[in-house]
């Protein structure tokens, strides 16, 4: 069963994403900031990462850069979740090889569609 890591400093949002993924059989891990996220990604080698952009400390952008710099971790697809609508951010994220881009607020259908698009319908 694919393993998914959810990195977001917002506790409720993390809980919502995790509950939905777990209910559909995915193995789910959480991290409340960028630093913990990178650590868990290195240890657990998830199949997919959900990543918030604006977090205290190491931002989502920094996490993306760090993931790309690692030969192994750069293979993990990343789906961005962000409440920001600043111009050019989606393009920037895509250019940093983000596999998907979710703008908050989003519904569960959109969330699951992105998972299936990225991982295929294996789960």
């Amino acid at each position: 069963m694919p393993k998914i890591l959810v990195i977001d400093d917002d506790r409720n949002l993390r809980k919502m994403v995790k509950a939905n993924l777990a209910a559909r059989g995915y193995q789910v891990l959480g991290a409340s900031d960028g630093e913990k996220g990178l650590e868990r990604a290195g240890l657990e080698r998830p199949d997919l990462i959900f990543l918030d952009l604006m977090m205290p400390g190491i931002s989502g952008w920094d996490v993306l850069v760090a993931l790309q710099a690692d030969q192994e971790l750069q293979k993990i697809p990343v789906i961005i979740m962000t409440a920001s609508r600043r111009e050019g951010e989606e393009n920037r994220a895509r250019s940093m090889r983000a596999a998907g881009y979710l703008v908050k607020p989003f519904g569960v259908d959109e969330l699951m569609r992105q998972v299936k698009l990225t991982l295929g319908s294996e789960a």
């Binding site: 509950a19 209910a23 604006m54 977090m55 409440a83 920001s84 609508r85 908050k104 519904g107």
Partner: protein, 410 residues
Amino acid sequence: MKKEDKTKEQLVNELVTLHQRIAELEASEIKREQAEQALREERDKAQRYLDLAGTMFVAIDANQRVALINKKGCEILGYEVEEIIGKNWFDTFLPERVKGEVKTVFDKLMALEVEPVEFSENPILTRNGEEKVIAWHNTVLIDEAGNITGTLGSGEDITQRWQAEEKALQAEALKELDRLRSELLANVSHELRTPLASIKGFASTLLQPDVKWSKKEQQDFIQAIDQEADRLSRLISDLLDMSRLETGALKLERANYQISEIIDSVSGRLANLTKHHQLQVIVPLGLPSVFVDETRIGQVLTNLVENATKYSGRGSPITIEVQPSNDLIIISVTDRGVGIPPGLQDRVFDRFYQAESIATGRKGGTGLGLSICRGIIEALGGKIWIESEVGKGSKFSFSLPVSKREEKVA
């Protein structure tokens, strides 16, 4: 006859002497005239040279009177030279608002109390009432005995350059304001979307037809929706407060209160906020009352205590202390938390800075709390400030003026 001859001879001699003296006198008179003429010519030549100069020259004597001015100076001021010489430079040719200050500096210079300033800039008043900005190069005039007799300034009219610079500065400031405004809007939009994301997410979760959630899970999700709706509502109140404070539209309902009454009125909230900390409240007896808005002061106090809980460890002490100080009551909230580095201390109350920090240093708040606190305290005639040391903790204090009405009663 001999006597007569002698007298005659004597007379001739005297006459010759007189002629000689007259000739001598005449010669010296011519010399003097020549000398005067030479001096006049020299002076006129100097004046002509000064008049050729493209910058204005003004000499001011120790009594503040104009001793010399060149053509360019007359042109800039719009007066004839005769109208300027002898006039008090400061009273006649400087705008009212700068006159006093420039005069003081000049008098101090004449009294040898200050060192001369080589370069200076100040506005001058022209005949038609228009102001011109002059950049001066100043020289102190000293006589043979070494006494200061006045100053000589050569000045360039920099009005146009100055206006252009002023305009550029204004444009720059407007651009910066614009940038901050759109930055604020982007941050506000981000902050509004964050609680909305959980509300939408959990509602959509509960509506999923393919998952059967347990009763406990359902309860959990609904509770999260409830919490996030509260957070959204708090954020909207904060935004409204901020906007009202900015436009001066915040209504304050002021009355005389004892500060202890205000603390009591929010004690429930404070106890709830500090359930994982040790709250200590120190209020001396017999304090004068303050003429404030009870709800707003309660809001400031809970905001400061809430911040203290967010940035200090569980179980650590938080102290509210009230102290009188002359005509003020000072209320402080002290924590033993992470503290704030000196460079950021001045900026924690700044709305735009706060707004910028929303993006990076979010701690669950709206990022507007402290700027709202400052707005409320200042609207009530007080001040708010911070003392902090990294790793040791922070102390936020605000002052409120003692109410005058009660003073009269007392």
